[in-house]
Symmetry: D2
Subunit: 362 residues, 4 copies
């Protein structure tokens, strides 16, 4: 990103001004003009940087964690992916948290609920489940699973293989707004109240229950099976749908509203055909990507991120991004786009357009 | 507020674990279980504290500032009210900025626009104007004025008296989400394109322009004259409207939607009758109050804030609040409530209710 | 309007077909192709015609009615304005009912409620009231008053002069959809529960009650005083606002939503400057006009309707309309536009535009 | 239904009144009090009656029609199902039209569009298609297909068997509101622009296209395959979902909004287990049912309608309804419920509830 001139030139300092500023400080006040240029910037100033976590490096560390701590002791055995630009923050972007969670055969992660909304994108293994509000869904690679705000959830693995997934949460948002609440369920594992598939069959087949009223702001269906998502992408690819910036890109949708599955996190799935060389775009929603399959590279400004299956990488706000795929690849991604839109502050720009950059929402 | 136990007990540390954590750090990863209790808290953890800025102390500092710097040099001659719990942050709450701005006779504050939304609540003086999108509105004490996101605005004072107002902005929100943009208008003072009162007569008289479609997410009317707001409060007082927690309290409304005038900031006006002793409540939206008139005190937990006309005070998130008025008083207030609601994370609790605390939005 | 060819040419009849049609009829069936051209028409086929009711002719009939029947006996002493194209139907358009109601000093019209939504536009006299849900509003010429669906309402005249107003209801809609319900209040006059002006001060001053949730689909404020509406029009006229088709035209608005005050009826107020010669437009919502003041003429296709104060006239669907004013005039109007929009079937066309007709919602 | 007393007692007639009424009629006016009781009724007055069309009787008539007229000549070869209470009206309810359409091998029904919205529920045969906006969908029994307002559509049958379906349209609504428009496509068969399944894969798999904005008010997916709908019902039956009034009942949903697939017509699918004996309910939306499979009977007040596969029957407004199934049955149904809700006039009552009747929307 080119250097942008400051919005406001800081006035010179004098002895009189300096003394005055000191007296202001005693009253918990300070002159705006001394800090205006850092508060109101001409373009977004993101303290995070582009970064990648390679699965082949992280996977052994995940297994090592499994030997060092149990899920019960850890509550959730997760390796937080922390943005190098924000060390010690537990943030992968300024507003989002991401981590790699593993649950081994026979383990359970105890039931709790919190204001923070969470998503899971399954990377490896089969046979574990996520339980939400009394229904368990079996986790399979590529499945997109929600555990929405303030809903009881737990995980367990009655199967035979280690199951690893990417966690995405809005913890920084909940804490920035000072709205965190959390509780443990009285039981380690919440009781099963529904048959597997009940939510999907009630809400995910093109119909809704009679006179259904959505309760809350999250999708009533909490699993988006990869089988269906992949089928959609492949059909559209075969039909020649193609976006020069994004390949074939879809957004996960709440069937009861058509909006985002959760009020703070948007999630997307895109297919990049083999040989895809995308055009450049930028948007204000810093975005976390997970290469669900395939191999390619993403340019963030001048930074090259070469990725392969299950690598996770992050793109800061307003940095130009373009994707290339060496082989057919599927990228899962999530960001705070829906939150930014709800607050009227989201902006996007398509670069390398035939004519001028196309700006949305200005 | 009672001390709340941590959500999760941090596991013990061993040599093996310690080494493991070090290797994680090299990969920009860290164990969630080491920080879970500070990330996911059982109740909101607000780093700000209750505080008050007394007008009789701030007013001389405002005048002193006027002798030391011009609005042109300062861009905006504002004393930021900085929360004592967040020194150096330019934040009055975790999500909001507040300041005291003054414009002296003959001065102009140059025209600019930014993504951050702003409100003005006029405290003293008459004869200045705020211009928004080509229309100037004369500022009078008690007027609530908007300069919404990305709309050109400037101020000027062709009158004879110093005019002081409270600024409220969502700068921390714009920066947290990495969405800041700002521009200067090519002219110091934007051209006048409309007659004063045009917006109010188009949008504020119970009618809207034929086939009106709202552009953006902010109210098309940008001044809420105190004359009307006060009339509403006084009528309802005379009619016996009375809320044991809030006195007579109304929220400013976008006539084109019925929602908040701006997508990130809610604003309220309330009348406390002389002798009012309110019950206690708490909500997750930390709130900035300005005593528009009268004299009283507000209890925030165990902290007493005694206020009189034009004092500004702030209440952190989830702290129990109750108001008392020695004489009939009018309190203006603003918070990020509308933003929290849009994100599905706002919560409120009425304490001292006849039965149980009443919790909203849980 | 030019004659439009039928959408479908009716097939010829044969002996075999004729016998077949007879056998269908025995089974409550009939061939679509025999009636298709009358069912699915290329342009709207409105059975009503343009018509005018002159106040100087109707006023004596109103007074005569007052001598022949009491409001108690009549329930409502109203002269229905019945479209000449639909004799016996009690419809002024295919979807709306209109009538002239009078209440003399000392009279009361008993309290009832019904699913049909009603509006009142006051034409003459002062001192009567309309009571809605426990609040009475004094009726003054030019006031626009709602008695929304299923809300108790009654009228009374404690004053000294006869008060006349125009009633507009959606009775044909309620009956077409088979949704009519109606009840009498246990008391002739519902108890007074609120001070006059309470609704206006709660909902009509730019603010709303704290955490207000709209109950139902109608405006919580039920009077739009002429003083304010007229002030808006006159201000905008002075500012040079001017629409070549409509003069200065505003739509009444629900302050809690920005939408229509009632879910089935839209209402408008427009000022035609002296000498105004409007361009032609047409829309699918047949519209009832009341000349609140002034004198002019309206062309509906080739039909000229010359109107003066308190005349009521009606324009059918999709007929080209243009207004002319000899002196400054104010026209009140209402239609089912909001209902058509809610059903996705409203269409409008601006004729005499500089280039092509501009069609909305096609 | 019990007889309901009139809302208002008609006043007596006198010579003076009679003469007066005559003079009113000359001015296209009439006294409300003479007709009030028929205009404003205490309960809905539906002029239609419960009725059934048996497929075994209608099917031969459909085939006979195929020998007597071609689709090109007929435009659409449909037998209208006309309510016995409204002979000559082409209405099955006061607001809806229904018909049985057949297309034989090799036939095409020419491309046109109209404001009226249409649904198709496939009864018999396979191999025909419906084309909407350039995409063809193969019609299979139980499929629910939309041809929304003002969208080009045509049908063709390249297969080998006669295909029969139920048509449902809102023609009476379009004509009541005077909003009918219709056009023929320049070509008999609109060009194919999309691959079969494109809409379903874009909108029906739990995701939506990136930054999708709904155009219009109808679902962007225009086929709801029976395979999926049936799967949903059977899963929920196996899970023990069961409503004492409706069995297992779902409503078709627009994936982009969660609302009705079209703005004027709601559609439902319900499974009645073998031996089901439903409780009684009534609602203001008169409803058309089609027995997609199974055998049973429906009571409408005291009228028994015994149905089997592909029979069509209609229930008037506000009549108590209860269903019984001799064998496991699937009922498709549609009504104007979504339109009534949009207008704020829909009402429903669950009878035989444990306590009082439960009324919605009063």
């Amino acid at each position: 990103m080119t250097v942008e001139a400051a919005f406001h030139e800081r006035p010179g300092i004098s002895e009189a001004r300096s003394q005055y500023y000191g007296r202001l400080a005693e009253k918990s006040a300070r002159p705006l003009w001394e800090v205006l240029s850092s508060l109101v910037t001409p373009v977004p100033r993101d303290r995070t940087s582009a970064a990648i976590w390679r699965y082949r490096e992280m996977r052994p560390l995940i297994s090592e964690g499994a030997r060092l701590i149990t899920p019960e002791e850890a509550e959730r055995r997760v390796l937080i992916l922390e943005n190098p630009g924000l060390p010690g923050s537990a943030q992968i972007t300024q507003t989002l948290y991401a981590g790699l969670q593993m649950i081994a055969p026979g383990e359970v992660a105890p039931s709790h609920r919190h204001v923070a909304s969470a998503l899971r994108y399954v990377m490896e293994g089969e046979g574990a489940y996520t339980a939400v509000n009394g229904e368990r869904t079996t986790m399979r690679p590529g499945d997109f699973i929600l555990t929405p705000s303030w809903q009881w959830h737990d995980h367990g693995n009655p199967g035979g293989s280690e199951v690893v997934w990417l966690d995405g949460l809005d913890i920084p948002i909940a804490n920035f707004f000072c709205t965190s609440f959390a509780q443990h369920h009285p039981q380690t594992t919440q009781p099963v109240a529904h048959r597997p598939g009940d939510a999907l069959h009630q809400f995910g087949m093109g119909l809704l229950p009679l006179e259904y009223k959505l309760d809350g702001m999250s999708a009533p269906v909490f699993v988006y099976p990869f089988e269906r998502s992949q089928c959609a992408l492949q059909h559209l690819q075969a039909s020649g749908h193609h976006n020069p910036w994004h390949g074939i890109k879809l957004q996960y949708s709440n069937p009861a509203t058509g909006g985002s599955p959760m009020p703070t996190i948007s999630a997307f799935l895109q297919l990049l055909p083999a040989g895809f060389k995308g055009k450049s775009y930028r948007s204000t929603d810093a975005t976390v990507f997970c290469a669900s399959s395939g191999r390619g590279r993403t340019w963030v400004g001048d930074t090259e991120l070469a990725w392969e299956t299950n690598d996770v990488f992050v793109v800061p706000s307003w940095q130009p991004v373009r994707h290339e795929a060496e082989e057919e690849s599927i990228l899962f991604s999530f960001s705070d786009r829906v939150a930014q839109k709800a607050l009227g502050i989201w902006r996007e720009e398509y670069l390398e357009a035939d004519q001028e950059p196309v700006q949305a929402n200005v």
